[in-house]
Amino acid sequence: MDNETTNYAIKLDIFEGPLDLLLYLIKKNEIDIYNIPVALITEQYLQYLKIIKSLNLDLAGEYLVMASTLIHIKSRMLLPVPEEPSEEGAEEDPRAELIKQLLEYQSFKEAAADLGKRPLLERDVFTRSAPITDEVDKSAENDDELMEVSIFELIEAFHRLVSRIDKKDLLEIDMEKMSITDIINDVMERLTREKNLTFEELLGERIDRRRIIYTFLAILELIKLKMVKAYQTSAFGVIRIFPAVES
């Protein structure tokens, strides 16, 4: 048993998760993945978990979830198969879902291995890395081209800033505000073109509840920011929105 324990211990950290551990057990026992003897596999699986616990290692929750799944399948397998097949044809194998998951995971595991075997840049193949410092004029850069920046770099930049100045409120960004901001930009763009607009005109043709509420909130926000002014010719008259400052 001691010998066994060390064997298990060595292999613990090489598993990528419960599915990986199951695949390992299936392979070790030379089992057909389409016809898993659930009782055997469950027993071995639980054995592993015990060892992990005995080594005082924290067990990721996912391993426990899988354990209960296995036990559940095992108990379902013990139920007698109904003699008359149900109307929908064959009764579903209690293992079907797990098998599907294992096959899917296995195929990605193989795909990952295949990826890792490709000739990788900076590992197997290399490109020119020295700068070509020809007489090429560097000022000839054209700014109108698309920029190669990812959204991730943008958010990283903002994150950097926030962590530097530690202003908690900067972190609060809610989706609703961003949707309103879209409309604010839209409203301001149209106001510069048209000089003034009524609320209905601002809504345009896209009249849905969300749009009406957001447009209304956007105008309130714009008034608060002192970017627009709202005028009314008479009580209950049409409200016209003007840019607060002529551009």
């Binding site: 096959l103 899917e104 995971y105 990952a112 000739p119 290399f126 490109t127």
Partner: protein, 183 residues
Amino acid sequence: MENIKAIIEALILAAEAPLALDKICVVLDEAEKTEVKNALDRLITEYDERQSGICLQEVAGGFQFRTRSELSCWVKKLKGTKPASLSPAALETLAIVAYRQPIVKMEIESIRGVDVSAPLRGLLDKKLIRIVGRKDVPGKPIIYGTTKKFLEVFNLKDLSELPNLRELKELNEQQETIQEFYE
């Protein structure tokens, strides 16, 4: 254009990234696209036939000079440093993103059966994957996809060059097996 092959060669060497056919055509505005393509093909063959240490490869939607992979040990000896390699967790996560993109974190986790925050973050840092957008479902989860750099690093022309996953075929076979088993 007489020396079109030479010009293309120079352009590809000078470019900072794999150079797209279209871009070459923009620079060589007087040449026909087929003419450029032919010159490229001839260049590729010539480098191959000459058994040069360099080869011209189509990768990430463009053309680039790369050292021949058989010579990697020599180049590694020159560079000295050992390149950081991807962990199995990162590779698995990357494979799932590559094949299943656009994909959200939860879907990756349901395939791998474990939390993928750490490998996702590492792949983003390495710029192998990127945030493509958000899914229009409650919570607006982030959608991930692979980058051009992914194609460059893994020596792929485009995503269609990824080998087919075995999964689908096997899944069908499996269903038949189970059916037979119960019949």
